[in-house]
């Protein structure tokens, strides 16, 4: 990569701040949630000042995460409609994971994997919020029937599992696809990166910027 490589903006500063805010809260939630999910992770409660503090903080962090996530999701909503090109792209997935990227169909700002992540997170985080409120001690849980709470803990656990697993894939992909982290840390990607991974998007921004 030459130092004179042309850069395009992928994320604005507010977007990046928003993303990392979600990231931090999500990680805290994952750690505190896992701590209360399986004894193997209970040691993580130490990060939050012990078991009771973990129980106290988790739902509040959850609400903060929900709000910031939704703000972020709103910003990204328009890029996440699934298109026919996405489906062709998806058919090439076995090649893609093996880094055989020749002749891939040109796609928009996000590939279908990212879009799936987007919608998965929307669904799971809404579920987590609703089920989380139902099991929130001591404020809300006593107002629901015990069976309702039982259902809620189950939903919460499954939703969290899916969300965490998805985010792990997200993180792996970010590390795997070089240049991605830069997008979220510095806000820019190289034009080549944009053309390679998100050709259609590149064309759109190129057009938009008068090139």
């Amino acid at each position: 990569m030459s130092h004179s490589a042309k850069l395009v903006t992928r994320y604005t500063a507010p977007e990046r701040v928003n993303h990392w805010f979600v990231t931090i809260t999500f990680v805290m939630l994952a750690f505190s949630g896992l701590a209360l999910f399986h004894p193997a992770f209970f040691f993580l409660t130490n990060l939050f000042g012990g078991g009771p503090w973990t129980r106290i903080l988790h739902p509040f962090i959850g609400v903060v995460m929900f709000v910031s996530f939704m703000a972020f999701a709103l910003r990204m909503l328009k890029y996440n409609h699934i298109t026919p090109a996405d489906k062709q792209w998806l058919a090439r997935l076995p090649d893609i994971v093996r880094n055989h990227d020749d002749n891939l169909p040109e796609i928009g700002k996000y590939n279908i994997g990212q879009k799936y992540l987007f919608w998965t997170l929307i669904i799971t985080i809404v579920l987590l919020l609703i089920s989380g409120i139902v099991i929130w001690q001591p404020y809300f849980a006593p107002k629901f029937s015990i069976d309702m709470v039982r259902l809620a803990v189950l939903v919460h656990a499954f939703a969290a599992f899916v969300a965490i697993a998805s985010i792990m894939v997200h993180v792996s992909a970010a590390i795997w696809v070089k240049g991605s982290v830069r997008a979220m840390t510095r806000g820019t990607v190289t034009a080549a990166w944009a053309r390679h991974h998100h050709g259609q998007w590149y064309k759109e921004i190129a057009k938009g910027s008068g090139k």
């Binding site: 896992l34 880094n99 189950l154």
Partner: protein, 290 residues
């Protein structure tokens, strides 16, 4: 309340076995509803021994007071007026509280290591110093017993006076019961005693008298002699076939290890994928093209 010197046989949120070299006698409390006069001496003794004082409440048009279990009331009498036989009124009075299940749902649901323990004698006890106040025990309990304190957000329930039992005494409620409706001893003896009581009740015309020791939770260490064992619901909704909710069973059963394992797998898959195929980089030619 962790004042015991009893051997622990099971511990919440703990995946390895507890010390179980020593085996103590399995105990049980037997509550003979047919002998109970609802005097609430057991409630009083419970408050006295455990230093609990509930609020002075109000009357809601029933005899039950305090109206429900709470962090301050670990046992309450439940009064039910029923007519099982047409024209024959019965006032069934059941002492409600922790059943000390052999397979305790509370312990299964609890995420905090050692907040709930089961002693080798069968008593299920809460160690509030380890309680984080999440309320999962409530979801685990098929009898709706644990209560979270408004004051300290810890869960409380009957300890079966584990502190007394540990030093060879009977629980306070047993000690105080004036009619002998509550007795305490080895589970085996209690079952034998119950059989005598059931024979007596059958002779008095209660054909369906029986022992309530529900197997759905592995049996309990608090058992009832019921005049109508075929209809435990008559006794203020005592569940007929209690078991840990399947939702809790799924959540704390297979889901817990499986999902933890699943997350590990995802992490490993990501890592080894990277190791195998390496980073995805934009080809150099494309880079220079721009």
């Amino acid at each position: 309340m962790s004042m015991q010197s009893l051997d622990i046989q099971r511990r919440s949120a703990t995946t390895t076995p507890s010390p179980d070299a020593r085996q103590t006698l399995e105990v049980a409390k037997l509550i003979d509803v047919s002998k109970c006069i609802g005097c609430k001496a057991c409630q009083s003794a419970c408050m006295e021994w455990n230093d609990l004082r509930d609020e002075v409440g109000s009357n809601a048009g029933i005899y039950d007071n305090p109206r429900d279990l709470s962090d301050q009331s670990w046992t309450v009498m439940r009064f039910s007026e029923v007519e099982v036989q047409q024209g024959k009124l019965e006032w069934l009075i059941r002492k409600d509280g922790c059943m000390h299940c052999a397979d305790p749902g509370c312990l299964k649901a609890c995420p905090s290591p050692g907040a709930i323990v089961q002693y080798s004698n069968g008593i299920v006890d809460f160690h509030e110093e380890n309680c984080i106040g999440c309320g999962y025990c409530i979801t685990g309990c098929p009898f709706n017993v644990p209560r979270i304190s408004q004051k300290d957000n810890k869960a409380y329930k009957c300890t079966l006076c584990s502190d007394r039992v540990a030093v060879g005494q009977e629980p306070a409620c047993v000690k105080t019961c004036p009619t002998g409706a509550i007795v305490f001893g080895s589970k085996e003896d209690m079952i034998d005693h119950a059989q005598e009581r059931i024979a007596d009740l059958k002779e008095r015309g209660y054909d369906n008298a029986g022992l309530y020791d529900p197997q759905g939770v592995g049996g309990t260490h608090v058992m009832y002699v019921l005049q109508h064992a075929d209809q435990p619901e008559l006794y203020h909704g005592l569940p007929k076939d209690p078991h840990i909710s399947p939702m809790v069973g799924l959540w704390k059963g297979i889901a817990k290890p499986l999902m933890s394992f699943g997350l590990g797998l995802v992490a490993l898959a990501g890592f080894f994928h990277y190791i195998k195929v390496g980073p995805k980089e934009v080809p150099e030619d494309e880079e220079t093209e721009s």
